[in-house]
């Protein structure tokens, strides 16, 4: 588990470093996410070519998968500290209540519908099998 956490932190560090060096408009953790995905794919690809039985060795460990699942399971909680910051914006929000409320609802709903509808229509292959895992109370 310590190695798995180190992997995540190292890739976040790498992503944030790249973002600062190259003045990229994307946040460091998001860059880190893409880099880690690429590294995982590269490693799995090489392992399958070499027919090695160490396919899941190194940083691509079961522990990393377990840690990722645990972190993603409580992803919602991690937004609470920033979300409470809404209280500092209450006067501004209240001053423009109607346009803000309608625009937030309308625009979010439209964005959801258009994205999902285009995706739904444009994917011609079989839909990914639906599996709503019962995660024992961790369903948000």
């Amino acid at each position: 588990m310590p190695e798995a956490f180190l992997t995540l932190l190292l890739f976040q560090l790498l992503g944030s470093g790249l973002q600062m060096l190259l003045h990229l408009p994307i946040p460091g953790p998001v860059i880190g996410m893409f880099l880690l995905a690429a590294a995982l794919l590269w490693r799995r690809n090489r392992a399958s070519v070499n027919q090695a039985d160490t396919a899941r060795a190194g940083f691509d460990s079961p522990a990393l998968g377990a840690l990722a699942r645990a972190l993603i399971a409580c992803l919602g909680l991690l937004f609470v500290p920033a979300g409470v910051g809404l209280v500092t914006q209450m006067p501004l929000l209240m001053a423009n209540l109607l346009p803000i409320a309608v625009a937030l609802f309308g625009s979010t709903l439209l964005g959801l519908l258009v994205t999902a509808f285009v995706m739904h229509r444009a994917t011609h292959d079989r839909p990914a099998p639906e599996k709503i895992a019962d995660t024992g109370g961790q369903v948000l």
Binding site: L8, A68, L77, T115, V118, M119, H120, V139
Partner: protein, 246 residues
């Protein structure tokens, strides 16, 4: 407010130590989120009973009752906020796991991404202006569907109010998490690829979090949606503003 005064008195008396304060607010935050999840389960997993929203409201009430400034609270629960970084990186694992599905639906994804990004930006601006909101509010609304750090960078560039954009990003995410899945299901869209991408593009972090918890394929497409939507919106917003009258 006599009760608030009494509560603040108790709070100020028992929490003089910085460590106690950290512990106290960590417990309140975790406790309220756990309570929110319990309530949601009790309500038959109703998506509108969003535990993130519940925790935010309850913590805000607790801050008010104890007259604690937001900065003090944020400092206390810094560790929860910090974990957002590693958790974002962790989305790489479901992404790598479902790479076959991703490459297979690449053309569809590109189309959906462009359509969703443009719809979000344009409709946000148009709704605010139609209902008599100020130009500044409209500008702050434009990048609201993007993950917060990118949204703030875009707002600063085009002259919106960063704090307002951050608030919109969070509120929009909560709305998308509350109504997204049930609305799409009612329209017969059950594919997790569509659900994940839509949540990542229209609802940024909070909606993506909800889908990611439900399904690994949804998590992969939500992660892609967040990352790619940031890029596309950063390019689209200046373009849209160029055509905006006034």
């Amino acid at each position: 407010m006599n009760i608030a005064h009494t509560l603040h008195g108790i709070y100020a008396r028992f929490l003089p130590e910085p460590n106690m304060e950290t512990l106290f607010w960590l417990c309140v935050t975790l406790g309220m989120f756990a309570l929110g999840i319990k309530l949601q389960l009790r309500l038959g997993r109703a998506p509108w009973a969003n535990p993130v929203l519940f925790a935010i409201v309850m913590v805000a009430l607790a801050l008010f009752a104890t007259q604690t400034p937001y900065d003090t609270y944020f400092h206390s629960v810094q560790i929860i906020h910090f974990l957002l970084g590693p958790a974002t990186v962790a989305l790489a694992i479901p992404l790598a796991d479902s790479i076959r599905l991703v490459t297979r639906s690449l053309p569809a994804m590109t189309l959906a991404l462009l359509a969703g990004s443009i719809t979000s930006v344009v409709s946000g601006i148009v709704f605010v202006l139609l209902l008599g909101g100020s130009h500044e509010v409209a500008l702050s609304m434009a990048p609201k569907a993007v993950t917060t750090p990118i949204a703030i960078a875009i707002t600063e560039q085009i002259g919106g109010i960063p704090a307002l954009t951050a608030a919109f990003a969070i509120l929009g995410g909560i709305i998308a998490a509350m109504i997204g899945e049930s609305t799409l299901r009612r329209l017969g869209i059950t594919d997790w690829r569509a659900h994940g991408l839509a949540a990542g593009i229209a609802g940024s972090g909070i909606a993506a979090a909800q889908v990611a918890q439900r399904d690994p394929v949804g998590a992969a497409f939500a992660a892609l949606g967040i990352g790619l939507n940031g890029l596309v919106t950063a390019l689209i917003v200046p373009l849209v503003l160029y055509f905006l009258p006034g």
